[in-house]
Amino acid sequence: MLGRREASWMAVGATVAVIFSLLSVQLGETQTIDCVESLSGGIYQIYLDELDYTKEGLQNDPQLQNLMQRLYFKLRTNAKGLTLSSTPVPLAVALCKGRKPKGEVSFNKRMVESLDDSDVILELWGLLDAKQLDGQVSNRNASICFVLIPVLLDEYLNPLQPGLQFVTYPKAPDIASGELINLLEQSLELETFAAIGIGVNLLKNKKYDEAMKYICKARILLQPMVASGGNESRKALKDYVEETARQIIVKARGDANYAGALIELVDPVNPCP
């Protein structure tokens, strides 16, 4: 039971705390709010954050608005296309209205662990930009950051792992702005990164055969990106994928409950043919 004096001091402290807390509403500096559409219960999730604009006024540009709407629509309706038809897994795209991470700083270790606890495999956030001159909008482009949650989580153990992958659309500056939408829709990055997220999670859940399929799919998709002069982080991601493939073999063979094809049939040095 609290003493009267102690209770009085606590009341004073609490009052100060409430005032401090209310003041922090005024500050309201952060935008990494929770994703309201987030699901739970064994469903892999892709968080699609609200894209932000680099300048005031761009939010009124119909082409950029259209780009955002089509991107959301494409992802939400085609989520199933990101899983293998031979090895389907439950996957959903959650539209996170109002969630706008500020960059790597928004993804501290505990935050990433918590996202991984909710089976979030990938989070997309980014910026839409364009030139504005005399009311005319041109050179529209989108900078998208793909946050590979399970890869980023491993980075805390091994700092060489590439958990954040930045992609700018259009990739070539001479491409007309109107094509931006198609470029984003046809992008292989999303499919690749989703396969990595699913594969790593399946490995952690001891589903070795299924994990190998997704990881090998990711490796195949990554090869042309790296061959065509991909950046260092893409190369590091390819190394990560190949190491994960080897880990799948090692862990499958070390698991007394596993009796699948990975024990004998796969070359442990080059598991993905």
Binding site: L2, R4, A7, S8, M10, A11, G13, A14, T15, V16, A17, V18, F20, S21, S24, V25, L27, G28, E29, T30, Q31, T32, I33, D34, C35, V36, S38, S40, G41, G42, G98, S106, R110, M111, E113, S114, L115, D116, D117, S118, N201, K204, N205, K206
Partner: protein
């Protein structure tokens, strides 16, 4: 013969005189005692007459003080509940970002042990913002009230009827280590042994809330958290 009789008579007379003197002395002593006791009694009565109203006043003052104090505590608790409710609503808002949520949880912590249960409730929330903020809030309460915080976090881990999600278990295990709840060591050791059995996943799934069932990945995280906390709790 006559001399002998005379001698005896004179001795008897002497003894009678002595006896009479002794009786007189004793009587005088008794009289003295009676006189002194007659002096004390009025003093006690006087003192009692002065003290009685003072004692009554002290008792009534104490009773009034106790009642006022109790009423004030009740009122404070009511005020706390109202203020805490506002903070809980703010923490639960979908518009609240991590920094704001943390500030709110730390504000809740200022209410002391009363805030522990609501903060534990927030560990169960969906998403990342509220549970992580609640962890910070619980660390803050524990700085001032480690025993109360440890006691309730141990209760979280003792529950085997599925009241808590595995994510809340994980947070609780981490906090037990951060706060230094040494009493939790045997409990965590017991849970670790359960998690090392061949049917660990099924057994653990029965202990936690079923809406977000644990998988092997979750089990590994719980094991790793127990290992980390056990290291911290070693003397």
């Amino acid at each position: 013969m006559t001399d002998l009789v005379n001698d005896l008579e004179s001795r008897v007379k002497d003894n009678e005189a002595r006896l009479t003197q002794i009786r007189l002395d004793a009587l005088a002593a008794d009289m003295k005692q009676v006189k002194s006791s007659r002096k004390i009694l009025p003093r006690i009565k006087d003192i009692a007459a002065i003290l009685t109203p003072l004692i009554l006043a002290a008792i009534s003052l104490y009773v009034t003080h106790a009642i006022t104090g109790a009423m004030e505590r009740e009122r404070l608790q009511l005020d706390h509940l109202t203020a805490m409710r506002d903070l809980m609503v703010k923490l639960g808002s979908t518009d609240t970002g991590p920094a704001e949520a943390e500030a709110t949880a730390v504000s809740l912590a200022a209410f002391g042990p009363t805030a522990i249960v609501p903060l534990i409730h927030e560990l169960q929330a969906e998403g990342s913002v509220r549970p992580l903020a609640a962890e910070e809030g619980l660390r803050t309460v524990a700085f001032r009230y480690p025993e109360s915080t440890c006691e309730l976090l141990i209760k979280v881990m003792e529950n085997r009827s599925g009241l808590f999600y595995w994510q809340a278990h994980r947070s609780a295990i981490m906090l037990l280590g951060d706060i230094g709840c040494t009493d939790a060591a045997p409990l965590l050791g017991g849970l670790k042994r359960v998690l090392e059995t061949p049917d660990a996943l099924e057994r653990y799934a029965r202990m936690v809330r079923e809406e977000r069932p644990p998988n092997h990945k979750a089990l590994n995280k719980i094991r790793a958290e127990i290992d980390r906390t056990s290291k911290k709790l070693k003397p």
